[in-house]
Amino acid sequence: MKQLICGILMTLCLAGSAHAAIDAYEFNTEAERERYRTLVEELRCPKCQNQNIADSNAPIAMDLRREIYRMVEQGQSNEQIVDYLVARYGDFVRYKPPVNAKTLVLWYGPFALLALGLGVLAFILIRRRRAAASPSAHTLSEAERARLATLLDKKRP
């Protein structure tokens, strides 16, 4: 039991220090802090496969956090900061890739598939409705109707 509590406490301490490493920067305004936070959360760490700069403990992520902090303090815009990193590390660092010829399928592929699915659905529905509406299947000719009437009349008491 004691060991368990010890373990939990140690984990909590470690978690605390990890956060401290991220939040150690002092900002002049709350808006700047907010901007910094969005940027480090939106940008991907080049060394890690699927971690943003905020979460990663890789040395390169620390450097990039410092660099982003510096640029935020200098008053550079979000676009400038993102462009600065993209110029060095490529589009890989953006979790939201730009729309260009290479990413066209990525951005619009799902919509194309959705349209294709709707098209197939519409095709099936129309065919079914047409089949239902076609005279051969469910409507009776004049002669058949007359015969049906006589049959029904006969049954009637």
Binding site: P46, K47, P59, I60, L64, A87, R88, Y89, G90, F92
Partner: protein
Amino acid sequence: MKRLLMLLPLAIFLFVAVFLYRGLFLDPTELPSALIGKPLPAFSLPSVEDPARLITAEDIKGKPALVNVWATWCVSCKVEHPVLNELAKRGVNIYGVNYKDDTAAAQKWLREFHDPYLLNISDAQGSLGLDLGVYGAPETFIVDKQGVIRHKYVGVIDERVWREELAPLYQELVDE
């Protein structure tokens, strides 16, 4: 028509299978460099051998070369080092970027393991590394006579990598 439609799932399967098969052999840790076709970023940093001397991008121009990013804290750089020595012996121009390292440790390393570099740039703060888009070490750039980056290789250069991937391009730049 009906029969062709029945083949559609098979066609879709084959299409997806080709993509997945290709995915098996892709290395997701390999990033294409954003700097291919661009000149080396401007810098002015001290030399490892002689900290009083400043090296700039101008010093790298003039001949095709490898620009190798290394550090004494980088374990795989130690593996790569003998290969670089061998390449230097064969006359390949190699420049070093000593990335976020302690200069004294770097000097000791070069004394102990032999120095294959024509010049060694001391990038203690990692500022040149950042401009080069370095995210680990070792990384090696191939630059042409004009100092334009033509290729980037991430990871340890061994005989096979050199022979198959880098040597043909390097030779092409030498012949240019």
